[in-house]
């Protein structure tokens, strides 16, 4: 076992992991942070997307020990009731979440995009979401929500 030190949503943690433990296993099983979902475990669906030092990653194929000393942001750290992030409010306003399973990951992909490109085009939004699968919405209202949030951020 190895000791992993990381910050999640601003809080410092120290946990014991194996050489092959994934970041998703750490978040869900060790820290009880269940916003990131187990959807495929192959990096294909994006339901586990989180930010590591501001960069979008798939937690399910991120070796936990490679996150040592880094900061992780999950949907729980994006914004809370009463202090939601504009993206969360836009997702709600524009009906961007149906079953809600992809939503935590989708929001993190959207945040990563707007952090780097605050005024994206629709096509740029679609490209930024291309690693996050949604089977419910056809993505239309998700893209609407992100465009709206981008407008609001300006």
């Amino acid at each position: 076992m190895y000791t992993l030190e990381l910050k999640v949503n601003g809080r410092a943690y120290k946990v014991e992991v194996k050489a092959t433990t994934t970041l998703l296993q750490v978040l869900r099983e060790k820290l009880g942070i269940t916003g990131p979902k187990v959807g495929c475990e192959t990096g294909d669906c994006g339901a586990c997307s989180v930010l590591v030092n501001g960069k979008l990653v798939k937690a399910c194929i991120t070796n936990a020990l490679t996150v040592h000393g880094k900061e992780v942001l999950t949907v729980e750290g994006l914004g809370r009731p009463g202090a939601f992030h504009p993206l969360q409010l836009a997702f709600h306003e524009h009906y961007a979440a149906q079953c809600g399973f992809c939503t935590p990951g989708m929001l993190m992909a959207a945040k990563a995009l707007l952090d780097e490109n605050p005024k994206p085009t629709r096509d740029e939004v679609k490209e930024a979401l291309s690693g996050n699968l949604c089977r419910c919405t056809g993505y239309v209202k998700i893209v609407d929500a992100i465009m709206a949030a981008a407008g609001e951020k300006a």
């Binding site: 050489a19 092959t20 960069k55 194929i61 040592h68 995009l113």
Partner: protein
């Protein structure tokens, strides 16, 4: 399966020492986009993981007539790089179609090459540009042309104690013509069914936008430094040598376009798999090379 050992290399030298010590037991971990999938699917239980993500192999250097990229440089960095945009636009174009944003954030150029998938996305632009890779071990370094690097599906000339530390890419002439396209099963997040690039230096002929029309006999009077590259159509990413030779030194006209495309397709040796049939891959190789050349002359 208690989990094996994990080492975080803080320098290239440390990584090479670990590889020398553990040899074939060691798996080099960079972005993990390949290894961790295999671990999760119980296809791999690595005894030793050597993490090279923070050992100083993340860089893009402009050396004038060539650009060198550290083996552990993620694709997202390559995509962001102004040097790559300006000097290696073909690479920039191809990298856009690799994986998805989160995969490009961690997936590395060295990892993509070492995995040696016949469908390796980065292989197409790099083979077209005549890139080489630098392999280092405790006992020294060697530079291998990428064309000689791949041996078969998942196989390369890399020895267990060697690390792919650098990709060396000659900068093509400014007036070089090129085109790239990837056929996948969808528009993103998909392994290529066939991807291809064509690159050559054109002499004579009219510049873009002038009246050299399709019905005129010749688009360019002479092509040189020509390369036609395809992936996912052979055991390794393929430089279509005969097709490239047809272009080399020739005047490019509609007839030659058809001939080059057909020849490239004949050089392929594709298989059936979950993504496409061998029949389609060969057909699409021809159509792809034809459309790439047509795009260049359009």
């Amino acid at each position: 399966m208690s989990g094996g050992e994990f080492y975080r290399a803080s320098s290239v030298q440390e990584a090479l020492d670990l590889l020398a010590k553990y040899g074939a037991k060691a798996h080099v971990l960079a972005g993990g986009t390949d290894i961790m999938v295999k671990v999760n699917r119980r296809q791999l239980a690595p005894e030793v993981l050597v993490y090279i993500g923070e050992c100083g192999l993340n860089y893009i250097k402009d050396l004038g007539d060539k650009v060198v990229i550290g083996g552990a440089t993620p694709f997202a960095e390559i995509l962001r790089s102004d040097v790559v945009k300006q000097k290696l636009p073909l690479l920039a174009e191809a990298v856009k179609h690799i994986g998805t944003p989160a995969i490009r954030n961690v997936g590395t150029i060295g990892g993509n090459l070492v995995t040696a998938s016949p469908a390796a996305d980065s292989s197409v632009p790099l083979l077209a540009l005549g890139a080489s890779v630098k392999l280092a071990s405790k006992s020294g370094e060697r530079v291998v042309p990428l064309e000689a690097f791949f041996k078969g599906p998942g196989e390369t000339v890399r020895k267990p104690d060697e690390l792919l530390v650098e990709v060396i890419i000659p900068v093509p002439d400014k007036d070089v013509k090129f085109a790239y396209h990837k056929i996948g099963r969808r528009k993103a997040g998909t392994l290529s069914v066939v991807a291809g690039a064509v690159i050559f230096k054109a002499e004579g002929g009219a510049p873009r936008g002038t009246a050299i029309a399709r019905d005129q006999a010749c688009y360019f009077e002479k092509c040189s430094q020509a390369r036609v590259v395809l992936n996912a159509v052979a055991p390794t990413p393929l430089v279509a040598k005969k097709a490239s030779a047809l272009l080399e030194g020739s005047a490019l006209d509609a007839e030659l376009i058809a001939k080059v495309a057909k020849t490239a397709a004949e050089e392929t040796s594709p298989i059936d798999d979950v993504r496409a049939s061998a029949w389609y891959r060969r057909q699409a190789s021809e159509g792809l090379v034809k459309s790439l050349l047509e795009r260049i002359v359009a």
